[in-house]
Symmetry: C2
Subunit: 196 residues, 2 copies
């Protein structure tokens, strides 16, 4: 009886939880979904596998929760006065090292999604939807400035263009998605597609 | 001694090999890289795990070899007389069901690549490079017809645009990459990006 009470109460602290989630996402970037075993998480975070299973139940569930706490770069502070300038500012939110890590994380997640349908929902809620909402603010300003018409057919595909180039760069060219590549892609594809 | 000779000679037939590779790619589409266990391959193909390990050594190696035999739709017969027509013809090479399967395969592979660096090389050799070479023929005809200038900056990004939309559709919109979506994306993004 004492043990049951103990078990139920021995939840980890929020700080420890945040540290653990960060370690899970780091591991996902480094070794991918398949390599991200509960053993690896336990070793990296110096916790016991028993604790991990008691708190999260399964690996996909642990990844889902880790993703909920994922901080993504905000576009709130991007406002250069033109869409052209804003797109280039977006590219510069993360340095090349962060871009490569983020691309590894998305590749890892793209796979994990097939193993755990919940993860697609959480990925969309935590990563895609905030990004779409913030992009919408930026594009709306461009519409209000008269840079692009509100019914321009490419407006709904800006994230497909950006994220698409970002995730396919390694597959197509065997090169990381650097700032230089993304700046060039913005000028070659996104700017003309929107008729800027 | 007799057993060693036996083992070395008991290679499976080419027909059986092709059947096995097809089953591996089917499983990769259905359950992803993590779910694609040697047990699952053995069960699906009614072979023994011992045979699989003797012939291929490991799961990533088996996927690499399965991918080598992967047939992709050719663009050889796409020649409508305009780039606009050719892009729409490309979209129609595969029906919606095939598009969804192919997108699942690419998501599965995007992950597997992190676990097995050889796989990126084989994926590029067997899938990306033939696709780029065939796309080049189609784009070159457009250049010769005067539809687009040879130094147009978006010419080098056509596959990034196409494959990018294809793989991000599910992530961004939680919808499969159907023909209808790709036709719309061609008109909204690829055609204006190339200034057609």
């Amino acid at each position: 009886m004492a043990e049951v009470t103990m078990t139920r109460r021995s939840r980890i602290t929020p700080e420890r939880e945040a540290e653990l989630y960060a370690a899970v996402l780091d591991l996902l970037r480094e070794v991918g979904y398949d390599g991200l075993t509960m053993d690896a998480v336990a070793a990296r975070t110096r916790s016991s596998k028993a604790t991990l299973y008691r708190q999260w139940g399964s690996k996909p569930r642990l990844i889902v929760e880790a993703l909920r706490g994922h901080k993504h770069a905000s576009v709130d502070d991007v406002d250069t006065g033109t869409l052209h300038g804003d797109f280039h500012a977006l590219v510069m939110r993360a340095d090349d090292c962060q871009l490569e890590q983020e691309s590894a994380l998305i590749r890892g997640l793209a796979m994990a999604i097939q193993a755990e349908p919940d993860l697609l929902r959480v990925f969309r809620e935590e990563v895609i939807e905030p990004e779409l909402a913030e992009l919408e603010v930026l594009l709306q300003r461009g519409v209000e400035r008269g840079e692009v018409s509100a019914d321009h057919p490419a407006l709904g595909y800006v994230l497909h263009m950006l994220l698409g180039a970002f995730v396919t760069r390694t597959l197509i060219d065997d090169l990381p998605p650097t700032q230089e590549f993304l700046h060039d892609y913005v000028d070659a594809v996104i700017v003309p597609a929107l008729g800027l």
